[in-house]
């Protein structure tokens, strides 16, 4: 449904998106994760042809974006973080305008159906300027669904919504996915993506850090603990000895502080401190850091990519 090949966007030498390769399969709910400024929106704008990529190719709905650009966009629904509505228009008028723009057939029936499904039928003739944030988001959804899109691109769809609003939008996404629509969700909230997506990509500073199933990612991120060991003196022999254990996935050393990513199936502190003592080291203290999935995501997007990278690479 969406495929990018070495997609790159540069602004005066700064790479907002750097050789991005995505592959979103049909019928998926695909999470596109990254902190603010990671390059998510830039990627979406390139997918929509609004921004011109510096390099790379984009394939949407099995067609390269250079071909039938406008007709391709008629098959895509987009919901942005903010809805930017024409506030002087009534909800019904607004959807009627977009229905005409997308060439929707039997538009009156369709508009009523969509308004009903997002729970806004009663306020069809109310001006959009009087709508709450949640209502605006729902109108955005209704607008995106108007052309019966094969692909829904959602940019931070629940940002700023109250819990009820979040739940309503989440239900809506699931409902639309069940109808066979491919959904691409861009978000900085792992918790949100975690609940909806089967496939996830993580982007930071324009680079793709990981693209995997949610299950695999969860395994990678949540089946480990982090041990911070303070030593009286750091020695190379200690690191060497510790790396021989298969329950240790990654080792990082900064002066007298050793950070180990260790399997969380049992408590490995005893064998670790014994090994250190054997190598002539003195353990001054051990801190255990158990990360939630959210924390793990935040950690990895704050440059600690080691958690997602293969172990060998990190130890080297």
């Amino acid at each position: 449904m969406i495929r990018t090949e070495n997609l790159t966007k540069e602004y005066d030498g700064f790479k907002a998106v750097d050789n991005l390769n995505l592959d979103v399969k049909e019928g998926e709910i695909y999470g596109f994760l990254g902190p603010n400024g990671a390059g998510k929106t830039t990627t979406i704008l390139m997918l929509l042809g609004i921004l011109r990529p510096t390099r790379g190719r984009i394939y949407l709905l099995e067609e390269e974006l250079t071909k039938n650009f406008l007709s391709l966009k008629r098959r895509i629904g987009v919901v942005s973080e903010k809805q930017y509505l024409y506030k002087e228009m009534a909800a019904g008028e607004y959807l009627d305008f977009f229905a005409d723009l997308y060439g929707v057939k039997d538009k009156k029936k369709k508009i009523d159906q969509l308004l009903k499904s997002v729970g806004l039928l009663e306020v069809k003739n109310r001006k959009l300027g009087a709508f709450s944030r949640g209502m605006q988001q729902k109108i955005g959804f209704a607008r995106a669904l108007l052309p019966d899109p094969e692909l829904l691109l959602l940019d931070e769809p629940v940002s700023g919504l109250d819990p009820t609003g979040i739940k309503q939008i989440r239900n809506l996404i699931e409902k639309e996915n069940k109808k066979g629509r491919t959904i691409f969700i861009s978000s900085h909230l792992l918790s949100e993506v975690e609940k909806l997506c089967r496939e996830v990509a993580i982007i930071n500073e324009g680079k793709l850090l990981a693209e995997d199933t949610m299950e695999n990612l969860r395994k990678k991120l949540s089946k480990t603990v982090e041990l911070e060991i303070e030593l009286s003196q750091a020695k190379e022999e200690i690191t060497k000895a510790l790396s021989s254990f298969d329950f240790i996935q990654a080792i990082k050393q900064r002066e007298n502080l050793l950070t180990l990513r260790v399997k969380s199936d049992q408590d490995y502190r005893a064998p670790i401190s014994e090994t250190i003592s054997r190598q002539g080291g003195i353990v001054l203290g051990i801190k255990v850091k158990e990360m939630s999935l959210e924390e793990a995501f935040i950690t990895i997007t704050q440059k600690n990519i080691s958690l997602l990278a293969p172990l060998e690479e990190v130890t080297k």
Binding site: A90, V123, N125, R126, K127
Partner: protein, 444 residues
Amino acid sequence: MRKIVIFWGVFFGLLLYLQATSMAQTPIMSEQLVYSLNVYNGKGYGGAFTPQTEDTIYLMADKNSAIFARTTLVYFWPITAKFMAGFQTLNEEVVGTLEILKGGKLLKSLKPQDNSLYYPEGYWGETSVLSIDEEARTYYEKYKKAVDEYYQKISEFYKARIEHRKKMDEFLEEIKKRREAGEEFTSEEIEKSIPREPKPPEGPKFYTTEPRQDYIINLPVGTYRIRIRAEDGTIIQDSQKNLVVFTSRRTGGTGYEIIPGNRWTMREPCDDPARIIYAAGKNALYFNPFTQDEYNELYYNKLEDPQNPGRVERWRWVHITPIKDVTLLFLKGKEVLQRVKRLPYSVKQVPGATLGYDIIEYDQEKQPYEKPTFEGYKLDLSPTLENTGYQINLEKKTGGFFKGGKREVRLVRKENSRLLYALSIFPLVIGVVVFLKRRKRLVP
């Protein structure tokens, strides 16, 4: 904000300075080669000069026009925004041969010729003729002879008048004596025997200017270039000019000069047949029709004075001769409402404290010592007339209408001017309807 204030301050300061500069400068004289012109303008001859700022001279086609190059002092006169020539201070003839070129090739070489202007109806008459060479000299001789004869007659007249006074004194003395002697006379007898006063002679009816030397140009329509070659073969500096020779676009039209009854000094031209005469209330309009020719505005204006502005895209009608022996018809459709003859009129100031004047029909018998103020075809418009569908036209003595003499006359309804403000707000009414219709559709 501060920058904007500074910018506008400097801007307006500069404007004021420019304004002050334009008003306060004293004229600066500069010596220039100029062409003095005596050119045919469709009805007679008019004079002007071409300063260095003007690079083109405009002349009428197939008519003699006289031009000559002179060195004089030229100065700018801000009141008229034109250059003036000080011929009294410096008027030096530039001697040589005038060369006329067409497409870069020499077409003619002209030497100065004697020429004079002959005014058959006198100096103030409307027609003038440029005569050249022998004819100019003959006309001038004829005029000089007529003037000499006139002076001779004047001299004789003065002598006769002295003689007459003498005879008159003698006559009165004799009458006195005979009365004292008891003789009685009737006024008829006195009238019969009174010495007749000599009539003063009339001066020459025509006028001719003294012949002078100019280049006489007579060319067909086209654009040319002129220059003066000195006797040593060189081209005299600043003598090169473009020459545009043109003719009328249309001839034989009919134009009007209209004198409004309540402001007789403000005469309004109505030359273009497309022009509509708008009038209001009770009106007396005095029409003076003319035959007219149509010329390019720029060319004609520049012909009259090379410093005149004008537009090459615009056309103007030029009155040629007054149309006198016709009847002015005031029509509504084909129905003739008034038939008007040309009559002389006198303007009489209203005596006393009330300012104003009356225009009365001139009566030679009642006003033997006056001349009519103007002549015209008087049209009385009544406020009771309907507003549209009126025209004026000129009927020839032989029947039929004068070409281009028709004009539309509309009587405006000035009393409705306040209703115009009410009319202006109708878009707002439409706006209110649209607004209410939409509000009905929307829920609060």
